[in-house]
Symmetry: C2
Subunit: 158 residues, 2 copies
Amino acid sequence: MDRTDVSLIALRRILRATELYGRELAQAAGLTAVQFRVLQVVGEKSPCTATAIAQRMGVSQATVTSLVDKLVRQGMVERQRSEKDRRQTNIVPTDKGRATLDSAPDALQQRYVRKFEALEDWEQSMLVAALERVASMLDADDLDASPVLHTGDLANAG
Amino acid sequence: MDRTDVSLIALRRILRATELYGRELAQAAGLTAVQFRVLQVVGEKSPCTATAIAQRMGVSQATVTSLVDKLVRQGMVERQRSEKDRRQTNIVPTDKGRATLDSAPDALQQRYVRKFEALEDWEQSMLVAALERVASMLDADDLDASPVLHTGDLANAG
DNA sequence: ATCATTACTTTGACGCTCGAAGCAACTGAG
DNA sequence: CTCAGTTGCTTCGAGCGTCAAAGTAATGAT
């Protein structure tokens, strides 16, 4: 087993961990992974249009509509007709939605952040350099990326 | 933006890249990401039972049955009753299935492998150490991990 | 023989995803 | 002002992935 394989295995462990994390998270919140992800996006930038969410998540508008429907039905978010442009619908989290976000276990990300911040300064630098290196080795061109871990569809967890 | 955020963003880029890769790959092969993943697993360990695939992929047997059905319908794999234990069904790739595997673009992994192997010795060591570090920061307990990149369901890519 | 276990398939239900088509509102050219 | 084009979102219809539960078949232990 050469080093290339070892590095691929480590990558796979990373993917796997985030995948499982998504399911865990969703289950704990009573939502699916993707629904939770929408809630996260809405929570980050509160007056948030459907199109913005779609672009952010890399899915179609139709998909967002369906996801938002479900979140509305569960009282997590609300639709509000925009005053400026009445074609737009702003999607805002309800109190319940915010509470869900705050109380989400966030086990994985928390664990990661805690461990990361416990590292020595030079170790942090090394990890950042390595991760960015790997990222650039993997992706051709780039897109927005926010400091929020999530697992995409992966997750069509049923 | 502190270093923790930077590291999270890099992680997200990695996840995103592998996610997109899965779709690309699948589309090129005329299969979905998950179907292709099954084919990969079958290709790796050829006499392969449904249960083995299910465990390897972290899904239920029922799901594997449904996925294998689709691969059979497309002539990618065959079911063969085991001689030893006639409850078991061995799933083996057909010639077409092997051809599909061989000719799969494998763009991302190829790109990664090529770049990784072009690195200096010490750089490889550094990356491996960093990736394993991150992996251990993310996953609590571990499971099998093979040197094959993929994106799980995540993705229920439709 | 019989009962429990194992391996797989079937069934029914749900979630995610999309493209296409539709509706409502805005915008710009004339 | 008006009409055509564009934009933002929703609805509809369809396919895929996923699972739990129930069913079938074969093995194994007693």
